[in-house]
Each structure stands twice: as C-alpha cells, then as structure tokens.
Symmetry: C2
Subunit: 216 residues, 2 copies
C-alpha cells in the first residue's frame, strides 16, 4: 500500500489527467463551433474555461500542501515541479480552446469558411488526436507516445502554414475575416505547442533528459 505522501502524488497526477480531459473536451467543443458553425456551443466552451483555470489553482494548492508535508526525494520532486509546469500548459490549452470558440462565432459559413473549412477540419482532427495523446501520456508516461506528440505537432504546424497560405493573393473575404482565420489557426498551433511541452516534461520525468524548446 502506498503511504499518504505517495497517495497525494497519485491524486496530483489524477488532477492533471482531469485537466487534460477537460482541455480535450473544450477544443472538441470549440472545433464544433468552428467547422459546424454550432455557435450555440461557444458560450459553453467559454464558460468552461473558468473551471479549467480553477483546476490549475487546485493543482498549485496541492503542490504547496505536498511540499510542506515532507522533504521529497529527487524523483518525487521532479514530478512535483513538473506538475506545476504541466498544469500551466494545460491551462493555456484551455485558453486556446476558448479563443477558437470566441472567434469562430464570427466567421461567415458562406464566406471565409468556404475557403478554410477543409484545413480547419484537419486542424480539429489533429487537435483531438493531440489532446487524447496528451491525456494518455499523463496516464501511462509512455515515452514513445510523448515523443510522438512532436510529430503530431509538426502536422499541425504544416496545416497552419497552409492556412496562412490561403490568406495571400486569392483571399476575397476581407482583412477582418483574414485576421480571425489566422488567429484561430494560431490558437490550434499553440494548442499543439503546449502539448509538445507537456510531452517533453513527461520525457524529462521518465528519463531525466531535458529537451530544450528551441525557437520556432
């Protein structure tokens, strides 16, 4: 049987998994606002982000509690400190979902969306895959899954480049819609980046190797 201290660490990990599921769900909702023009769902996603933010405070409080309990050994300490960073990235992923939901409401289904929907659909699929893999990585700490997040993110980056490519010469829906499209795309792209950072944290937990995040 695990002692109280380690049971608390398990609970901490469970809270990260819960956060990860929430940000997966949030981006799924946001993607539906976008690709299905389901604007009724937007307010739900936007309101739900407050719960995700509060989960981060729960994680932070638990970390403080755990740290005051006893002097942690190196491996436990590594996990505890990583939790703070992982929760920060998850919180940002929630922000990105909120951002997509907010901007997606304004896109004209018969205008800007006609030209961008296929790419957005692919971005939505990639984001869902990334989010589910992030949750799995937190559950299993599988190093292979964690590093595969880099590849999924490369795909997302490529989609983002293609999207920006649409906003060049052949764009006919005006500057304002172009900005909304680019901002939505960037939110998906950032969502992937944060998942990659979580993957690197997990690799660091498992191996002690730091993967330096190089400038994009």
């Amino acid at each position: 049987m695990r002692d109280t201290f380690h049971a608390d660490l398990d609970t901490l990990n469970d809270q990260l998994i819960e956060m990860s599921r929430s940000v997966a769900e949030a981006m799924r909702g946001a993607s539906r606002v976008l690709v299905e023009s389901d604007t009724a769902r937007a307010s739900e996603v936007i309101a739900g982000d407050t719960d995700i933010n509060e989960l981060q405070y729960t994680v932070d409080d638990r970390v403080t509690e755990i740290m005051t309990q006893r002097q942690a050994v190196a491996t436990d300490l590594r996990f505890i400190l990583s939790s703070i960073r992982i929760a920060t990235d998850l919180e940002r992923m929630g922000d990105m979902a909120r951002h997509v939901a907010k901007l997606a409401q304004r896109l004209d289904p018969d205008g800007a969306l006609t030209q961008t929907r296929p790419i957005f659909e692919a971005m939505a699929t990639a984001a869902a895959r990334i989010a589910d893999k992030t949750t799995r990585v937190l559950e299993t700490r599988d190093r292979l899954d964690a590093t595969q997040l880099d590849l999924d993110d490369d795909e997302m980056d490529a989609l983002y480049s293609r999207l920006l490519g649409q906003l060049s010469s052949q764009w006919t829906h005006g500057a304002e819609a172009a900005v909304d499209v680019a901002m939505i795309g960037r939110s998906y792209e950032r969502y992937g980046d944060h998942a990659v950072r979580i993957g690197h944290q997990v690799v660091y937990l498992v191996t002690g190797e730091i993967h330096l995040d190089r400038p994009q």
Copy 2:
C-alpha cells in the same frame, strides 16, 4: 548574515531579475525593428531568445537544487514555487519579443506601416514601461507597482483594440499584411498579459492572496 539556503533564494531572485531585464531589452529591440524598420536588428532579437530560454532552465535547475537541500518553510516555499511560474511567464515574454521581431521585418514601411505606426509606437512605449515595471516589481516586491501593471495592461489592451479597428473597412494593404499587423499587436498584448501574471504572483508572495486570472 544570510545562511546558504537564503543566499540561494536571493540568487534565484537575481536570476528572475536578469531574465526580466533581458525580456525588456528584447522587446525594445523588437520595437525598433518595427517602428524604425531597423530590420538588421531582428536576427539579434531572434537569436537572443535562446539565451532567455536557457535562463529559464537555469531557474528551474536552481529550484530543484534548493528544494533538495532542505524542507522549506511556507513563505520560502511560496517564493520557490512562484519562481517557476514567473520564469515561465518571462520566457513567454521573450517569445513575444521574438515574434514581433520576426513579423516586423515583413511589414512595408510605405504600406501597412503608414497606417499603423502611431499605434505601434504607443504599444512599444507601453511595453517598455510594463517591462521596466516588471523588473522593478521583482526587485522591490512593491505591491502598488505590481497592481499598477494591471492598469498598464488595460492601456495595452485598448491599443490592441484600436489596432484591430484599423483592419476593418478602411484597410487597403491586403489580407497578408493585415494578419501580420494583428499578430504583432497580439504579441504586444500577450506580453502585457504575462507581466500582469507576474504582478499577481508577486502580490501573492507578499500577501498570500491569489488573484484569479479571469478569462478575457
């Protein structure tokens, strides 16, 4: 005289201050690329971001070292855990400066910039003020300065709204330049947001009060 443990905490704070000065310098450089079309400076800002990222790892390593040294009491622990979060926000501020420098090189001084330069100049001034105040807050932990960052950030948000307003009907420089302008504006806006988060962390350090970051 301070003992080794507290001397290490001082060093940790010095590293945060050093990071804060670096991100102030980075955004000043990026702003010169933007408002003075000093494109030669862009590569310097972009390369410098790697140093800022590495400062974050230095902070993280020091935190781990400090934590394995001894069981910290509540107030020290609060500072140690805050350092991780503050370093994360500073690292992101560095990213925002890099992003401005990168995109600013593409803006046409005789095109998109003619319409946006006054607002960008105001954003550059606001960013410099915010960055300097952030450094001062880390140096003095002055609660008033920390909360004033919220007001400075409100000004930045207002400038960002005005900038986006420029990209509506009267915009004549095409969708691609509109997207670059919006992304640069958003980077300044995010730069301010991260400074506000640092301000809240410092208030939390001084008072123990958590200021919940509400969705924008």
